[in-house]
Every structure is written in C-alpha cells, then in structure tokens.
C-alpha cells in the first residue's frame, strides 16, 4: 500500500479509537456543547449582548459565545486531543510498536490529522445544529460568510493538529500528558475570548493572546457569526481577516517545523 492509502487506513482506525475512548469523547468532543449549553442557560436572564439602552436589539448570550465555542472545538480537537493522544501512545508502547513496522511516520501523521479533521468537522456541524435547533440561534445565510467559515476552520484545524503533534513532545511521560496539556489549553481559552468577552479583557491580556493562534481562530469565527456592528468591539475596530490568515499561517509553519524536529517513534538514548 502506498503511504497515502496507508494514511487513509490510519484515519479510519484513529477515528474509530477516538470515538471508543470516553475521555476524548467527553473532554474534547462534547466539551464545547456543554459549555455553550451552560453559558446560554446561566446568562439567559441577563439580557442580550450589544443591546440598546432600552433593551432592544443585540444578540443572545448563546449567539455571542457560539463562535468562541467553535474556535475552542478546533483547539481541543487538534491541540488537546493530539498532544495527549500522542504523548500517551509514546508512554504506553504504541509508538514503539509502530516504529518497528514498515508504517511511515508520514502515514501516521496523515492518520492523526485526518482524525482531527473528521472529528473536528463532525463536532462543528453538530455544534451548529445544536445552536440552531436547540438554542434557537440564528445562523448566517450569506454564502460569503460560510466561505470565510470554511477557510478559517480548515486553516485553524490543520494548525491546531500540528501544534498538538509538536506539544506532545513536552510531557515527560504518558501519565503526565493531561496534566501538562490541559492547563495550557485552558489558559489559552480564558485569555483568547472563548469563555470571557474578548473586548472586556485588559489590553495587555489582549496583546498577550494575540501572540497565540486561538485568539485569531475566535476572531475569524466571530466575523462569520456576529453582526457587522460587533466588528467595532475588536481590537482594531475591524475583523482583520488578513491578520487572522497571517497569524494562523505562521503558527501552521511553526507547528509543522516543530512536529518534524521533535517527533520520534521512541525516546532514543543517543
């Protein structure tokens, strides 16, 4: 089988394993649903965001947080999922076994990234259905918005996947993987406008978040799902989609290079 065919067979295998693992299913796949549900319910009485002084207009809390949850889903599916998954596979001997077979590391990566893609798309699609049907959030109808959604999503997910592979080199053992990875991912979500309104954060924190990719994923998603008037709340008073593309592309290259440099089937001793 060619490297690509084998990669495709890895995607099927990896996706199967993903859905059979309670941990990934709950903490990666369902987490954004739970958070969006909680936000919508908890703040349902506090009125709309961006409403006029007389209480009219604006959008619901759920509608405001939907783009953030989509961005969080991309980050979790890529960074958290792969960093923990690969570090665990390194610790439990899975990688050592694969390293003794004629499986190419490239096929292995295709499998991981493919799994992130399949599960990420499924997650985003279900999140949109959940938002639209259950929470009654109005979704955009303009095809141009959906085109923006598509490229931000693809770029964001691929970047997240490579960063996850790179980050998997950090935990010293499989057991410490979640302890190392989850705080990083959690802090990023707090400073990047996923759980807290980005325009309400102090400027230094906004600047700090701008170094990392999640802020740009969330901003790209806000440009798709929030009304045009909300652009004024962004740091530069506009959606800055050009900057979103540049920031995510830079992180994509960083993730790719780090993955290439740090990945080993086993911890070698020389």
């Amino acid at each position: 089988m060619s490297m690509v065919n084998l990669g495709a067979s890895r995607v099927t295998y990896e996706t199967k394993v993903y859905f059979r693992s309670f941990d990934t299913l709950f903490f990666t796949f369902l987490f954004p649903f739970i958070m969006l549900g909680i936000f919508t319910t908890a703040f349902s009485a506090s009125g709309n965001i961006g409403a006029a002084p007389d209480g009219t207009g604006g959008i619901s809390v759920g509608a405001y947080y939907l783009p953030g949850m989509l961005a969080a889903g991309m980050l979790l599916s890529g960074v958290q999922n792969l960093a923990v998954d690969i570090a665990t596979e390194k610790g439990d001997g899975t990688l050592k076994r694969l390293g003794g077979t004629p499986l190419s590391p490239i096929s292995y990566f295709i499998g991981k990234i493919g799994q992130v893609f399949v599960t990420g798309i499924l997650q985003a699609a279900l999140l949109l259905v959940f938002a639209g049907l259950v929470l009654g959030i109005a979704l955009p109808t303009d095809p141009e918005k959906w085109a923006t959604f598509a490229w931000v999503f693809v770029l964001g997910v691929v970047t997240s996947a490579f960063l996850g592979i790179a980050l998997s080199a950090l935990p010293r053992s499989g057991k410490s993987a979640t302890a190392v990875v989850i705080p990083i991912v959690l802090i990023l979500q707090f400073i990047s406008g996923v759980y807290l309104r980005f325009d309400g954060l102090p400027e230094w924190m906004q600047n700090l978040a701008s170094i990392f990719p999640l802020k740009w994923m969330a901003q790209g998603m806000r440009s798709v799902f929030l009304p045009e008037s909300f652009a004024a709340l962004e740091q530069n008073g506009s959606w800055d989609l050009g900057l979103v593309a540049i920031a995510l592309s830079v992180w994509l290259v960083v993730g790719l290079v780090l993955s290439r440099i740090t990945f080993r089937w086993i911890r070698r001793d020389t």
Partner: protein, 316 residues
Amino acid sequence: MPLGGRGWKAVGMSDSDPVVRVRDLHKSYGSAEAVAGVSFDIERGETFALLGPNGAGKSTTIEILEGYRYRTSGEVSVLGVDPHHGGLGWKARLGIVLQSTGESGAVTVAEQLTHFAGFYPNPRKVGDVLDAVGLREQAATRINKLSGGQRRRVDVALGIIGRPELLFLDEPTTGFDPQARRAFWDLIRMLKSEGTTILLTTHYLDEAAQLSDRAGVIARGRLIDIGAIDQIGGADARIPLVRWRDASGIEREVRTETPAAVVTSLVDQFHGEPVDLEVIRPSLEDVYLELVRAAGGEEPERTVDAIAQAAAEASA
C-alpha cells in the same frame, strides 16, 4: 501459511550470509557499559536463543538489532543492513515482539490484525494468524478486555502477521499458562519449518531447550558461552551428579559418567539406602545457572537495562 522465497534481498547478500551478524558490539550509557563486546552470527532458518539474567544486556542487544537503539561501537548487520540505517523496506522483513506492551487497545483483535496486515507487502491471512495463536474465539473482543496471556498472544500475532524473514521474540511467553506455552512452541516450530529465522530471549530454559538450535549466554554485557543448545556449558557440565548425605550429615556430591556404579558403591558403603540420595542429569537450566554463577553475573541489584532506561529518559 507457506512462507516461500519472497525475493526480498539486500544488495550483495546471498543465502549463505548470516541473517544477523554482530561483531564486538559495545553500548555504553555514560560510564555504565550495558554491552561490552558481544559477537555472534545467526544463520538463515536458525532459531537462536539469547539467554542471561535480567540486566545482562540481552534487551539492549536485541533493541540495537531491531534499530531501536544506536550502538556505541562495533559492527551489526541484520538481513544485510545496518539497523541504524534500516528503512521501511527493511522493517517490512522483520517481525518484532517487544518485551512489554501496555497499549489501551480500544480495537478488537481482528481489527488490530487487519490494520497491521495492511502495513506489509505480503501479509499472512488474518484468519490463519488468529488460528495460529489460538485467538479465533476472541477475534471480535477488544484487546483491553483480554487477559494478560491473551494480550501477549496478540503481540505475537502482530509480530508474525507481516510474514517476517527474521522474527525477534523478547520473552514472548511471559504470562502464558502451560497449555498456551505448548501451543506457542508448536507455532514457533511451524514458523521454523517455513524457514523463518528466529532470535529468542526467554527466562524459561526448557523453552530455549525445546525451540532453539543454538544459544548464547550473556552476563554483565559479555557473551560467556555460545554453542549448540545441547552443548552449551561444555560436555563436562552435562556429566550426571550423584548427591547424598554422609554419616555425619554433610551433603556430598560427585560428578560421574557412571552414576549407577557410584550408587552401588554407596549402597555397599552404607549397607543400605544412602540418605537423601539424588542422581541429577543437569538440565539446560542447571548448566545455565552454573555458567552465570561462574561469571559472577547473578541478578545484580541495579540492572544495566534499568540504567539504560534511566539514561534514555534523562537524555530525551
């Protein structure tokens, strides 16, 4: 499961060249020398057992041959290739059963075997391998639901699914019940009859005696003996022992080619049954234990493999 010739040959390698060739192999971790000058060959179709106490350097040696570790010095050739530079085509000709695995295993036995079969150019049929390792009934069971011995059989199944020319078995039968061990022996004999070259490590000396043609004994990183499995330790080591207690209760023993004559003379001497009389024909295990004891290689407190592990983690 016919093996047959596969036409997989490294350039310049002929059938008469050894499948494994090791010359003056050294491996150091800092100041600790895990392997200190080991040399041996394994011929095509041969089953070779590498014996030795824990921490003697067996696993380090095997992992160098498998390409997992880099050697400090010496020459190594496996299927005509230096494992340090072994590519995917080379790995396709190997089967590796590692010493320990602890994968979570959210896939079934059949799924795992089918998936791994896809890695190899000319794999065995999944059904054949399931039968060979006795896991037909567990085919649809998830690996994490299997017992320890059954999981070990999955490891063996994954090692042979690719129809390897050379099979590494690092303590393959740990956790097997006696029945499973016998079944495993039959499997190895079948692989051997197909021409598979096998490198085996085991702590069960009866297993080594049953399966291997030749053996090497490693202690403290050095090969202290090598030879045909029934000649290891030299002819003298296999001379029967007669053991008894003398009149003052002290244990006595004599090595003799004529144990019956010795026993007869003891009976005459004691005017009857000697106390605690034993006639022992040394097994491979007895010979092995004597060899290792003489080499001062009895299970050291901190094993060299443990040092190797710690060094690997520290440098990672």
